[in-house]
């Protein structure tokens, strides 16, 4: 019997993860992280995650499973690594993925460290992804979850081998339907809990309003088309995302999409859908889960490339050298709506071989 710490959000997935570990005979400790900055009741706005009611949901599951449960306060680290990064990325005209940052810095860094202080051998999460030992090589693999519609491997691609060797994701072997059914069979109070869709630190979903409050400067500027003609004005570049169509506030008779955020000129460039097409991109902040793949980079290896959490990947080639801080990705077919700041994740079939951050597109 080994001691494991389960990150319990109060949602159905991590609750079933805790139950599965318990049934496998582990000594299970449940932990809920509090991340969002405010302590005030937000019950009147609807429950975000990490509210006191989510903590109570997690506790109720822990009581039902007869495991100890604690609350770790990671607010300071979350503010520093996730929220501050979220704001500064938007300020740079990029589109951040805070869940990925949270996984990278909070869930599998601070959390792992705290779990180790409790002499736990592994941390367990309710992610739809799988961590497995490679059958022949001395390394761990990160694989897509069996339920491809729920797969979350995209936001986990910054995990290192050392982290993967201490992480278990039991949910990745099941479909969401199976998980809900298990939760019902176990009589867990959260079996039919609504899925959280918004960012946990913006429970009302008003990202633009949040950024308006938190950004240092939002300076109005022009909206131009690709020929440089001014079509209208924006209230500040923050919160625009490449590919965005709604909320531009211009009427030109045909749909217009955000093509680029030119921060230096404070200009929003818009155009037709066709103008969104990109042949490739530069990717930095690289992390190779399969180091062997990186050594093959000079050969221009093929991979399936996923560049958005809702996207399912497209074939292409990687170009670079093994220790480069930046590589080039060429798509087999032009791709639209690539947003600098988002993760680019490279797959070999269902296995994540590595990933990074989209630096620029061409």
């Amino acid at each position: 019997m080994t001691r494991v710490v389960v990150a319990m959000s109060g949602g159905v997935d991590s609750s079933v993860a805790a139950a599965l570990m318990k049934h496998q005979g582990h000594e299970v400790i449940g932990v809920t992280m509090t991340l969002s900055p405010n302590e005030e009741s937000s019950a009147h706005k609807g429950r975000g995650c990490c509210s006191v009611w989510d903590v109570t949901d997690a506790e109720k599951v822990a009581w039902a499973l007869d495991i100890p449960h604690y609350v770790f306060n990671l607010r300071e680290a979350f503010e520093k690594h996730v929220i501050a990064d979220f704001i500064s990325e938007y300020e740079k005209g990029r589109t951040p993925n805070p869940c990925r940052r949270c996984n990278q810095h909070i869930k599998f860094d601070h959390f792992l460290e705290r779990a180790e202080a409790l002499d736990a051998e592994a941390v367990v999460t309710g992610h739809y992804a799988r961590v497995e030992k490679h059958p022949t090589e001395n390394r761990h693999m990160l694989l897509r979850g069996h339920d491809l519609a729920k797969d979350q491997s995209y936001v986990l691609a910054s995990l290192t081998q050392s982290q993967l060797s201490r992480i278990l994701m039991p949910i990745g072997n099941y479909s969401k339907t199976e998980i809900r059914r298990m939760a019902e069979e176990l009589n867990l109070s959260v079996a039919n809990k609504k899925e959280s869709m918004d960012l946990c630190f913006i429970p009302d979903g008003d990202t633009a309003g949040f950024l308006k409050n938190r950004m240092k400067t939002l300076v109005p500027g022009p909206i131009k088309d690709t020929s440089g003609e001014t079509l209208g004005h924006h209230e500040g570049l923050g919160a625009f995302t490449v590919g965005q169509r709604k909320g531009l506030g211009i009427a030109t008779g045909k749909p217009r999409y955000v093509l680029e955020l030119k921060v230096a000129e404070n200009t929003l460039v818009v155009g037709d859908m066709d103008d969104l097409d990109r042949a490739g991109m530069k990717v930095d902040e690289l992390n190779w889960i399969d180091p062997g793949f990186a050594t093959n980079l000079p050969g221009g290896p093929e991979a399936t490339i996923q560049y958005r959490s809702t996207h399912r990947g497209t074939p292409g080639r990687l170009q670079g050298v093994p220790d480069a801080s930046e590589i080039t990705v060429l798509f087999d077919q032009p791709q639209s709506a690539l947003s600098p700041g988002q993760a680019a994740v490279f797959y070999r079939e269902n296995e994540v071989v590595g990933g990074g951050t989209i630096a620029s597109t061409f």
Binding site: E39, V71, A117
Partner: protein, 380 residues
């Protein structure tokens, strides 16, 4: 299980449990009713008030039952400030008060009321010279200073605070939750105007009281009934009143030394750990039942979790709504940085603590803390 968290709450005393069951079996009415069942309830309620008044050296009309000390603190501050007969309009308090006082004063400050914050020494005692200077400036103040700090166990110089308030004509409110003996002493000497106590810290049910010195006017903060002489609406809680009376009598009759022996035993063990620092003053300036520590490089959270996994219940002082560990406002006010303020670990003792139990707990605490400190040191 080793329970070392009496400053948070105490286990129910068996005598009180028995008495509550006995009363629960009777058909007690509403103490405001005229019939026999009501009279029966009123008899229990008023006898409880009488016994409490006797124990504290107060008059019966000076004792007012509340849901707990938090309500009593709110009522003391807001009730006296808002009464038409109150001349005291300024507020004087400190950053080391319990949240029931601190947040109430903070809110008044945000609403625009004049508030002055007392400076605090590194041992957690308020600066009396600062208080004297502030009272000179604002003689008509309501001063709120606790008898004993709940996080680090520092006893405040409340007798001197009371005297200074008398000299300047200020009102003095004292949160006495952690030290009923000090409240009794203040009342005996006629040095306090408002004071509160809590039943569950003493081994009773939840439920508290507010002492309001005769002649001090307060406005009710909960309205909708004339109970408690029109100063606190809501059906009087007979069982809680009885429990509070019993708990207070039992607590005051006990020897303080037993609890101190437990505390000293744990401290002698912790003192041997390099990098362990005890917070607060020595001797009579500290409570007998609380000992609070910082362990170099380690925050309270992993210590408390590791202790709990081994059956030892301790705490970090104050808890937030999601019971995660927050930096201690009290430790910060004593001059420590944010980082150290997350390290506060508090052990506290009470009526059921015995040295045998504490001895076993002490070796667990020492093992856990030493292991975590070593781990932290070796971390790359």
């Amino acid at each position: 299980m080793f329970y070392l968290d009496y400053a948070a709450t105490a286990p129910l005393r068996p005598q009180i449990n028995e008495r509550i069951q006995e009363l629960g079996a009777q058909e007690l009415g509403n103490p405001s009713s005229l019939h026999r069942a009501g009279r029966q309830a009123r008899m229990v309620l008023e006898h409880a008030r009488e016994r409490i008044a006797a124990a504290l050296g107060a008059r019966v009309e000076e004792i007012l039952f509340c849901s707990g000390a938090t309500e009593a603190d709110n009522l003391a501050i807001l009730g006296s400030l808002t009464h038409a007969d109150t001349r005291c309009q300024h507020l004087l308090s400190s950053a080391i008060e319990h949240a029931a006082v601190y947040e109430t004063v903070r809110r008044q400050e945000l609403l625009g009321r004049g508030v002055s914050w007392l400076q605090v020494h590194s041992d957690g005692r308020i600066d009396l010279e600062h208080l004297a200077a502030l009272l000179k400036q604002h003689p008509l103040s309501l001063v709120s200073v606790m008898a004993c700090n709940n996080e680090v166990g520092t006893r405040q110089p409340v007798t001197r605070v009371g005297e200074l308030c008398r000299e300047h004509g200020a009102l003095f409110h004292c949160d006495g939750v952690q030290d009923p003996r000090a409240v009794r002493e203040l009342i005996r000497q006629g040095l306090v105007d408002l004071a509160c106590l809590s039943g569950h810290k003493l081994g009773g049910l939840h439920g508290g009281l507010l002492y309001v010195r005769q002649g001090v006017a307060i406005n009710p903060q909960i309205v909708g009934g004339s109970q408690e002489d029109g100063r606190r609406a809501g059906t009087s809680e007979v069982l809680r009143a009885e429990s509070l009376a019993l708990a207070l009598e039992l607590m005051l009759s006990e020897e303080e030394q037993k609890v101190k022996d437990c505390r000293n035993l744990l401290e002698s063990e912790l003192l041997t750990i390099p990098g362990a620092t005890r917070l607060g003053p020595d001797g009579e300036e500290r409570a007998g039942h609380i000992t609070s520590w910082l362990f170099e490089g380690v925050s309270a959270e992993p210590i408390l979790v590791a202790l709990d996994l081994q059956g030892v219940c301790a705490s970090s002082g104050s808890a937030c709504s999601s019971h995660s560990v927050e930096p201690s406002r009290v430790v910060k006010a004593m001059g420590y940085g944010d980082q150290r303020a997350t390290g506060l670990v508090r052990f506290s003792f009470g009526w059921k603590s015995d040295t045998k139990e504490v001895g076993s707990a002490a070796s667990i605490v020492k093992d856990v803390v030493s292991r975590l400190m070593k781990k932290e040191k070796n971390r790359p």
